[in-house]
């Protein structure tokens, strides 16, 4: 029998859903529960698509996916291998942008976001997806998160880990 452990963790601004399962597992989500807008694969491979849509994307371990176009849709995932997926979910109507922090990104560039002629009200967060990245000398672990605020500076050492950067477009 194929199985999957699913759980959800949240803060007031966003949620993290986690799916850890076996090869062959099929997961379907309806528009009400489909609030995932970014996805990161810790390991495994699986096909993901809107239901009845022949076009699919393949989730692979170690990669980050922008799945905003699948929000509030009927979607299906089929695991081609044992898998561990982490989803970034929105909890309200605000839009988000998201990406992984690059290996060569030794500090966060918040100036380009906030140093604008008109005040910017976006809020930015970092989320640890894997490993133990070090930010301002603090070692993070999976599911740790922090709101990062301009003009404070944030020095980053990914330390082999994976850190997501998310901007809430307020």
């Amino acid at each position: 029998m194929t199985t999957c452990k699913r759980y959800f963790r949240n803060c007031n601004d966003f949620g993290i859903c986690v799916n850890i399962g076996k090869k062959g597992y099929v997961l379907a989500e309806d528009p009400i529960e489909r609030t995932t807008i970014f996805q990161y694969g810790i390991y495994g491979v699986g096909k993901f698509a809107k239901i009845f849509d022949p076009n699919y994307i393949t989730f692979e371990g170690g990669k980050f996916y922008d799945v905003r176009e699948y929000e509030k849709d009927n979607v299906v995932f089929e695991a081609q291998d044992d898998f561990f997926l982490i989803g970034f979910n929105k909890l309200d109507s605000y839009d988000w942008e998201g990406r992984l922090i690059d290996d060569d990104e030794k500090s966060l560039d918040l100036k380009s976001i906030y140093d604008q002629p008109r005040p910017v009200t976006h809020r930015c967060f970092i989320v640890c997806f894997d490993g133990n990245p070090i930010v301002n000398d603090k070692k993070l672990k999976r599911y740790d998160y922090a709101e990062v605020k301009y003009p404070k500076e944030y020095n980053i050492d990914l330390n082999g880990g994976v850190l997501g950067f998310f901007k809430k477009l307020c």
Partner: protein
């Protein structure tokens, strides 16, 4: 958290002030219930609609007390953690005591940077 079975013992009843003095402990406690501290409970916190409801209301007050008792029990020196192990190699865990904190909230862990 799984709540253990609870024992309570009414030490005294004060109808004039409408209160009880009660001791609580978990059913499998390793001390006598007499050795635990007493709590004063107002009748206003109790449900007198039936005997079952009365017992349930006394139990309900005791749940957090018993969980606090459990959490405040001292750690035996022999059970103290050997420290954090960050490894997928099971051999590194052999013979060591690992302390794991349960996060019952389901919330993400916010870090101040």
């Amino acid at each position: 958290m799984i709540v253990p079975n609870i024992l309570f013992k009414v030490i005294s009843n004060d109808p004039i002030n409408k209160s009880l003095v009660v001791k609580y402990c978990r059913e499998n406690a390793q001390k006598f219930i007499e050795d635990y501290r007493s709590y004063n409970i107002s009748y206003s916190n109790l449900d007198f609609t039936s005997p079952e409801a009365l017992v349930e209301s006394i139990r309900s007050i005791g749940t957090s007390i018993v969980i606090d008792q459990l959490n405040s029990e001292p750690i035996l020196d022999e059970n103290k953690s050997s420290g954090e192990i960050h490894s997928l190699d099971l051999d590194e865990y052999v013979g060591k005591i690992v302390s794991v904190t349960l996060d019952p909230t389901g919330d993400l862990n916010q870090i101040e940077l």
